[in-house]
């Protein structure tokens, strides 16, 4: 009982720390418009449609289902959805306490979780990225792997890993990591492979059948196989992307930078020592393999976006469970403590301010304000074309008139070329949508390469009779409503 209380106390401390960090950006409505695209696409479920059927966003379908559930739980309150993400980060950090360690209480067991929180403290990692959700499934599979004695445990692992790939396709690297773990650790390699693949295939087959029943299997294959293959063919150098991130982290906090370098070095050190004994008892090979899988996740994405590093920043601290000496632990604690001092100094004030103003935070979101003012002027059947701040579609619960939800996707030729060849969009998609004479156009300009600004302005200002409504302070929501 005493041990449980100790655990609870430390969990509470971790929770408070997560809140102190994550709340620092909750006064911003949009940190990354990817999340807005997830939210808008997720509403397709509410209309009885599947993702990709009428609306396209470049992520697998389970992600949208999860966001749909978040929307339902929060009753479309964006602030609550952000807080749900904070809870996910909290749970992931707790999982680092419970995984790879024995059940007895030790202060040291909390350090990996705290390190993960510190790594994700920068605003780069605050939005509800799909990487957090894929980690939930991968971590669940790790729990089953470590704690279950069932002879079908790899079947469950396969199911969970399949679910993670339905959140973010890059999670396929964790299937590879389990293939390697089975090869190293298990005696009945073939049987376990069969279980793993059966579980994995079953989920994907079920998803495929669902799309087939809805008559949109072709769209599913296009979105789930053809486009991701095309999308990863664009390249950003792995090492320069890592270098850019490390430099940015050093600029943000030197102790965090030091901690990252120490963890990377320790991982490489353990990898070399693994060559002597692969079959160690303390999860060394599992941790090292998953760290490399996470690095591969960042590598195959080839985009250099920081949020692709979230799995790596989760698994790197796990290797702290492999440290033996008190001196080493002391050094790590020193870095973690000073990282938190730096991070809290930067973020805690704003977080406390946001917590104090919790009631008014959502009311001040600019798109929400715009929605509150125009909702009575818009009919359910109105055609809406959004080119900039697509969150308006979410509040209005309306689909975009274009098949593409996320405006940035117009600039990815590897995506638009596939959509064009499948007749999902036209070559001049933006002009086509403007010529459809939408009732509402959201966006003051079009930040893409598919349309000339003059053409856009001519259509909006001369040919149509639009009323311009500007919202507001930050000038980032502009809506044209047909008179």
């Amino acid at each position: 009982m005493k041990i449980n209380n100790k655990f609870l106390f430390f969990y509470l401390c971790i929770f408070i720390q997560v809140i102190l960090i994550q709340f620092s950006t909750h006064h911003y409505e949009t940190l990354d418009w990817d999340i807005n695209a997830f939210l808008v696409t997720s509403l397709e479920f509410g209309r009885g449609n599947l993702p990709y059927e009428f609306q396209y966003e470049n992520k697998p379908p389970l992600l949208f289902l999860i966001f749909f559930i978040f929307s339902a739980i929060s009753q479309k309150n964006l602030l609550l959805i952000k807080i749900i993400n904070d809870l996910i980060i909290f749970l992931l950090s707790i999982s680092l306490t419970r995984l790879y360690s024995n059940k007895s209480f030790s202060h040291w067991n909390f350090i990996p979780g705290l390190t993960f929180i510190a790594f994700t403290s920068n605003v780069w990692f605050h939005p509800n990225y799909s990487e957090y959700l894929l980690l939930v499934f991968v971590v669940a599979s790790n729990f089953i792997y470590q704690k279950s004695d069932s002879k079908f445990k790899y079947l469950y692992v396969g199911i969970l890993l399949a679910l993670s790939t339905l959140v973010n396709l890059g999670a396929i690297v964790f299937l590879l990591s389990y293939m390697l773990i089975i090869y190293i650790k298990e005696e009945r390699v073939r049987v376990e492979y069969r279980n793993l693949f059966f579980g994995f295939s079953f989920v994907h087959l079920l998803t495929g059948v669902t799309y087939f029943v809805f008559g949109v299997l072709e769209e599913y294959i296009m979105s789930f196989v053809v486009i991701p293959y095309s999308y990863t063919s664009s390249d950003t150098s792995f090492w320069s992307a890592i270098q850019v991130f490390v430099q940015a982290l050093a600029d943000f906090d030197l102790f965090l930078y030091g901690l990252l370098i120490i963890l990377i070095t320790f991982t490489l050190f353990k990898t070399v020592s693994l060559t002597r004994s692969l079959n160690s008892n303390n999860f060394t090979s599992e941790i090292v393999i998953q760290i490399f899988a996470s690095a591969l996740f960042f590598g195959i994405a080839s985009k250099g976006y920081y949020h692709h590093l979230i799995p790596l920043l989760y698994f790197l601290p796990a290797c702290l469970h492999l440290l033996d000496k008190q001196l080493s632990k002391g050094i790590i604690i020193f870095f973690v403590v000073f990282s938190f001092i730096g991070v809290n100094e930067k973020l805690a004030n704003q977080s406390l301010n946001n917590i104090r103003n919790l009631q008014t935070l959502e009311e001040n979101y600019p798109t929400k304000k715009a929605y509150d003012q125009i909702k009575n002027q818009i009919d359910n059947n109105d055609i809406i074309f959004s080119t900039e701040n697509i969150l308006l579609l979410y509040y209005l619960d309306s689909p975009n008139s274009s098949y593409i939800v996320h405006p940035a996707l117009y600039d990815y030729s590897e995506i638009t070329s596939v959509l064009e060849s499948s007749n999902k969009i036209s070559k001049k998609e933006v002009i086509k949508n403007l010529q459809l004479l939408p009732n509402v156009i959201e966006g003051s300009s079009f930040d893409g390469s598919l349309i000339d600004m003059n053409i856009y302005q001519e259509i909006v200002f001369r040919n149509m009779n639009f009323e311009l409504l500007n919202y507001w302070d930050e000038g980032d929501v502009t809506v044209y409503i047909k008179k």
Binding site: Q243, V246, Q247, A250, I262, F266, L268, K325, S328
Partner: protein, 185 residues
């Protein structure tokens, strides 16, 4: 006594000695060469010879560390230079590529840099010696640490303008690995 004699003449000892003295000599020569080029620059700062400039004969230690040379205030700019496959350009790293006199006591200088090459050099040197010391048991700890500290000091002083976050990361990694071999192995 016999054992000591055998050790002295063993191929391992010979390799060790060769490694230690050749590295020591090479890095010392590099430091001396760079320092002599700096002295040459210091003595001729008021009247720089274009040919010497073209031949990369003027070394400048980082103006971030030394901002005044012989009463001249130095403002510096970096200019990347290819060293692969133009290997002869290696000796131009850290040297002055161009100089302009602003007034009687201030000059601007462009300095040749190549971060990738310097990072590669740091990584290869440090990790090779770590491998040789901890895996192949070559060089005693004192000699090993002396070589590592000497090399990194020379590189960090001579090529400061070529350094970036990776250089510092490789340095930290090298010392973390040494710590890990000592305490966590």
């Amino acid at each position: 006594m016999l054992t000591v004699n055998t050790m002295k003449n063993s191929p391992k000892k010979t390799t060790e000695n060769f490694l230690f003295y050749s590295s020591l000599l090479l890095v010392s020569s590099l430091a001396t060469y760079n320092f002599s080029n700096y002295i040459y620059f210091y003595l001729n700062i008021e009247n720089l010879d274009v040919d010497s400039l073209r031949n990369c004969s003027f070394m400048i230690f980082t103006p971030n560390l030394i901002s005044y040379i012989a009463n001249y205030e130095i403002s510096s700019f970096v200019q990347d230079i290819y060293v692969i496959p133009e290997f002869k350009n290696i000796h131009c790293l850290g040297k002055i590529s161009n100089i302009a006199y602003i007034d009687s006591n201030s000059i601007t200088a462009s300095i040749y840099t190549n971060s990738k090459f310097i990072n590669l050099l740091i990584a290869v040197y440090n990790f090779s010696f770590i491998f040789l010391h901890y895996v192949k048991n070559l060089l005693n700890t004192k000699k090993f640490l002396f070589l590592l500290i000497q090399f990194n000091t020379v590189v960090f002083i001579s090529y400061f303008n070529s350094l970036n976050i990776s250089s510092f990361s490789f340095l930290i990694m090298s010392f973390v690995i040494i710590y890990l071999f000592k305490y966590e192995n």
